[in-house]
Structure formats: structure tokens, C-alpha cells
Symmetry: C2
């Protein structure tokens, strides 16, 4: 029913067509409360007849709402996409936002100049709120810019910069990385492994650090010494190299906890290359439970986190900050559980 071509119809045009005022059309378009049903139907008919769609710029000029939320990822896209962690989280976010008819705006913060660009964008009022993934923990990245612009922010993953822990207004969603690390190593201990190595991620990320801490917790609880640990940089190649060095440095090693499935896959490559059997000679536990983890040979024991749910929760926290979600209590950070999935590699 769209009268196509020509300039898009405005409220004014619809009003004229329906024989009412602009205000009335506006009311109908925005829910139609307080308009006689007869008039409402007439206006709706005109809207359809003309193919009217509200101009969002005009609308948000006056409402100061954009109906969009930015997801800022301060991480190279390569990492983001090679790591299903983000994808799943994004899916959760996107689902949650879609339900509220909010748009998701994805922004990558990769190179130096990007920061200024993104910052400018956020300040320009394109979005109502920000979900931020900033994994490298040095300093509050764009938090400043966003907050200055009065935008509510929710972080994905526990922020690691100094003072973050002390900031009561800081909102984030994280998984229980420490608990996950603890479970992984406790499991290896249960299986009777004696010398357990850890392949960690970059320790400037709280997730990497927490998993290592969890591993230490488990060993400490069993009265064992802290494990030898090497950084595998969360990549397959890093895992490969770290495994090699661990084997060289710890001759009796009979188990390894790799803090990501990617690193575990690299580690298994090294083990295979050296003729070591998994799990007979060396047991391997990963982290993440990516899909490929189950294809590995042997299928990988790993730690699963409900990442999609984390995404949803992030979105929900933001919505509460935006006060779209009426809720009495002021929101606070959320940590979701991690769960060991036992397969054949351990």
C-alpha cells in the first residue's frame, strides 16, 4: 500500500490525509492512547495508505532517545571473531535488545585512531547506552568518554584497571573464571594427576588471571605447590609453544590445564608431535567449550560458561540503567557460573 517515490511522507501529510492534527497522528503512531478508536483507525489507515514511517532523526532530536545501543569491543576483530566467546555473547545481547526493539551498534576499537572516532561517536548522541568489552586491563578505555556524555555503560568481563574493583557504580557481567579454573584443576587432581601445568592467557586480562588463580586455589586446597604456568596468549600457536616449553621444563608433567580451547588444541598438537598420548600420558583440560572442542581427537574436557546468557544479562543491566526496565533495586555486577564438561581428554 505504499505510495512510493517522491519525498517520504511526514506527520503533516498523514494529518492532512486523515483530517486531524499532527499531534493526533503522533499520538496514534506512538501507541494511540487517548485517541478515540474511530479516529485512531482513520489515522492508521492514512499511515498505511501513505506508507508513513517516522523520521528517527527528528524524533530523537526531541526525545533525546535514539533506540540504539553501542557494543564497543576494544579488541582486534580477528580476535573477536576467532573467539566464539564474543559471538555468543553478542547473540545474547542482540536477542535481548531485539526484544525491546532496540538496535545494536557494533563498534570495534582496534587501532590507535579508533578510540577517538568511537569516543566522538558516543558523545554525538547516536546511542542511548554502551556495552563495552575491554579486555586488556590497563586503564578505563572509553569509560570516560561515555560517562562524560552521560551514557550508561555496562562492561563485559570484570574490568581490571586500578581502582575498578573499588568503584561501586561500575556495572559488569563476568563468568566465574576463578571457579572454572578451580574445577578444571580439581578434576585433574581427582583423576590422580600429580604434575599439572597451566597454559594461561595474557595475565593483563582479568579472565586469564582469574582462571590461573582458580587453578592455584585447587592445588592449594589439595596441599600441592603452585603449578608451573606459561602464557599461551589465548592462541593455538601460543598453546603449542607453551606446551613444548612446559614439557621441556617439567619432565614428569602428566596433565595440563589450558585456559582456552584454542590453546588446548595447540597443546594437543605438540603432544601428538612428541608422541605423547592424550590422556594416557598427559591429560588435557581446556576452557570455553567451543564447538570444535568436541571434534578434537580425543574430544576435549573443558569448562563451559553460559556466554549467551551473559550477553543477555549485560543487555538487561543496561536496560535497567536506562530505566526502561522498571526495577526497584539499583543494578549490581553479575557473575555467572562455570561448569566443567568432562570428555575424553582427561
Amino acid at each position: 500500500m505504499h505510495r512510493s517515490r517522491g519525498p517520504r511522507p511526514t506527520l503533516e501529510a498523514v494529518a492532512a490525509h486523515a483530517g486531524v492534527s499532527r499531534a493526533t497522528v503522533s499520538r496514534v503512531v506512538n501507541g494511540g492512547a487517548g485517541v478515540r478508536s474511530e479516529v485512531r483507525e482513520r489515522v492508521r489507515a492514512s499511515v498505511d495508505a501513505l506508507g508513513y514511517v517516522p523520521n528517527s532523526a527528528a524524533r530523537s532530536l526531541v526525545t533525546r532517545r535514539t533506540g540504539a545501543v553501542a557494543v564497543v569491543i576494544a579488541e582486534p576483530e580477528s580476535r573477536v571473531f576467532s573467539d566464539p566467546f564474543f559471538s555468543r555473547q553478542l547473540r545474547g545481547i542482540s536477542r535481548e535488545l531485539a526484544e525491546r526493539d532496540l538496535q545494536l551498534l557494533l563498534m570495534f576499537l582496534e587501532e590507535r585512531g579508533d578510540s577517538a572516532r568511537v569516543s566522538r561517536y558516543l558523545s554525538a548522541g547516536h546511542v542511548d547506552g554502551v556495552l563495552m568489552f575491554s579486555l586488556h586491563g590497563e586503564e578505563p578505555p572509553l569509560g570516560g568518554a561515555a560517562e562524560e556524555a552521560g551514557l550508561p555503560v555496562v562492561f563485559g568481563g570484570r574490568p581490571g584497571w586500578p581502582g575498578a574493583a573499588a568503584d561501586p557504580g561500575l556495572l559488569y557481567v563476568d563468568t566465574d573464571n576463578r571457579g572454572g579454573g578451580r574445577q578444571a584443576v580439581a578434576h585433574l587432581l581427582e583423576r590422580g594427576r600429580q604434575r599439572i601445568g597451566v597454559i594461561t592467557g595474557p595475565l593483563d586480562q582479568t579472565s586469564a588471571l582469574d582462571r590461573l588463580e582458580g587453578a592455584r586455589d585447587a592445588l592449594a586446597a589439595a596441599g600441592a605447590a603452585p603449578p608451573p604456568a606459561l602464557d599461551g596468549r589465548f592462541t593455538a600457536e601460543g598453546g603449542e609453544r607453551a606446551m613444548a616449553r612446559l614439557l621441556d621444563e617439567e619432565p614428569g608433567l602428566d596433565a595440563v590445564f589450558a585456559c582456552s580451547d584454542l590453546m588446548a588444541s595447540g597443546a594437543m598438537r605438540t603432544l601428538r608431535a612428541r608422541g605423547l598420548r592424550v590422556p594416557a600420558d598427559v591429560a588435557v583440560v581446556g576452557y570455553d567449550d567451543l564447538e570444535p572442542a568436541s571434534w578434537a581427537d580425543p574430544p576435549l574436557t573443558t569448562v563451559r560458561q553460559d556466554v549467551e546468557r551473559m550477553g543477555r544479562i549485560m543487555a538487561r543491566l543496561l536496560l535497567r540503567r536506562l530505566a526502561l526496565e522498571p526495577d526497584e533495586a539499583s543494578p549490581s555486577p553479575v557473575v555467572t557460573p562455570a561448569q566443567l564438561v568432562i570428555r575424553q581428554s582427561s
Copy 2:
């Protein structure tokens, strides 16, 4: 230098601060042409002092430009993210857009209702153009809505709906799937394989269809019969099942071309389960050259496509449509090459 808190400063405020008119400030903010350098500097100083950032809603209300481009993916996010094809393409797109200071707006079109939502969003003038991935080929998905709203659209992948081929205005970027399929199978033939099976993707996607056609081309060129082909749905499980059926139905099978690496990984699982060696008993070629392809055991021969470049090209085509990129010739579809990467699985 930002005077924070309080309402954000407007042009008016900057004008007052600098002692000039709103128009002059606007000129300075938008490039500063035609303003005496002395005045320009004064205005710039005021902008800094007040921390002025233009209100994008107000701006695009009058300019009818938003500075944003939507990427619409008519595919479940699960698929999108499990398939690095998209991620890389997105990276290319995002890079290209970032260089032009355009924002990327990612939208998934997953469930039934999403279509209306996205369509509404596009019509609402939130974006200047659309990059659309619509793989299932039945009908022009949102093309209608976008075009009706006067938005330029570039498709990722050759659209497959009836009449698409005939539409001269249709802009898309694709890889040479047919050529890739041809290379894969030609390679297997060169290796002396006699009975080659194909595990295809869903044939309602042009990419899947083209790869199969390519395989047929290669066999036809060698004077061989068309290959047995089964749909593996572009998933690892599908590949597993398809491989099993192929083995059952084609006893002498000594090679398989799986039209995606995921399916190849599934196929290899089946082969391993049946005690068949790769490549001694059955050679395997995949498609995509995902990172995990090289971790496989043995590392997977596959077909690589420069996906990131495809993304960049898509973005560039759109920019030309938007006339941001001055260019004499009217843009036309682009097909990028595919390249066989030989590893140990064949």
C-alpha cells in the same frame, strides 16, 4: 578541557562564547571553509573550551545523512559466528567504513518478526545504505524495503532469487565459488583419484550450488561422470552424516570434496571412525580455509577466498553508490578469485 555536567553545549552556546553567529560556528565545525582564520581559531577554542560535540540527530534531520551503514545478515547469528566467512567479511567492511568515518550497524535477521523490525528500521532513515547478506535464495528479502526507502544496497554473495541474474542494477560481491569447486576437484583428479564424492551445502544458496557446479565442471572436463553429491548443510554434523552415506552408497570412493571446512571436519570424523586413512584411503578437500583447517589431523587441503577483501569491496561499492566516492563508471558486481591451498589431506 571539557566543562562537564549540565546539558551538552549547543551551537548557540559556542557561538555566544566565541562572539560569533551560529552559522559561523557551523561553518567552522564542518571544515571551516570561508571563515577568516582568526575567527576560525577563536571558534575552535570555544568548541574545545565547552567540549562541544554536534548533535547528530539535529544534523541528520537537516542533512538527511546519518553517517551509518547497516549490515543486514539474514541468517541465524549462530551460523554467522560459527562461520568465520562472515567475520572476516565484516572485518573488511568495518575497516573500509571506519576509514571513511562511517559507522557500521550490524543487524541480524533471524526470526520471523525480525524482518518487519529491520525493515522498519531501514525505512526510518537510520542509515545511508545497506550491505545485505541473504543467503537463502528464495526471494528478495528486504531489498524491497530498502529500495523503497531509497537506500542503496549491496549484496554479499550472488543473490539467487528468480530474476536476480537479470537485474542490471543489482550490486553484489561474490567469490568465484564455481572456480573454487573446479580447482578442488581438478586437484583430486590430478592426484589420481577415481571416485570422488561431493558433500554440498544447502543448494538454495548460490555459493553451495556454484561449488557443486564447479566440481561437475572439473569432472566433465576430465570426461568423468557427475559425482555423487549429498547435502551436508554446511555443518560438521551434516558432513559426518553425509560422509557416512556416501561411503555406504559408493563403495569404491577414494576422495571427497566437502564444500566447507566444517563439513570436511565432520567427514574426517566419520572416516576416522570407520578406520579409513586420510589421504591414503580417502582424500579430503574442504572449502573456506578457516583457521582450524590447518589444525586438523591431517591438515586440510582447502580452497581459500580473500574474504576480507570481499568485505572491503562491498563497502566500496556502497560508497560509490552513495556517491561518497567520486567515480565516473557506474559500479557493477565483483567476483573475487578462489585459490586452492594444498595440505596433507589430499
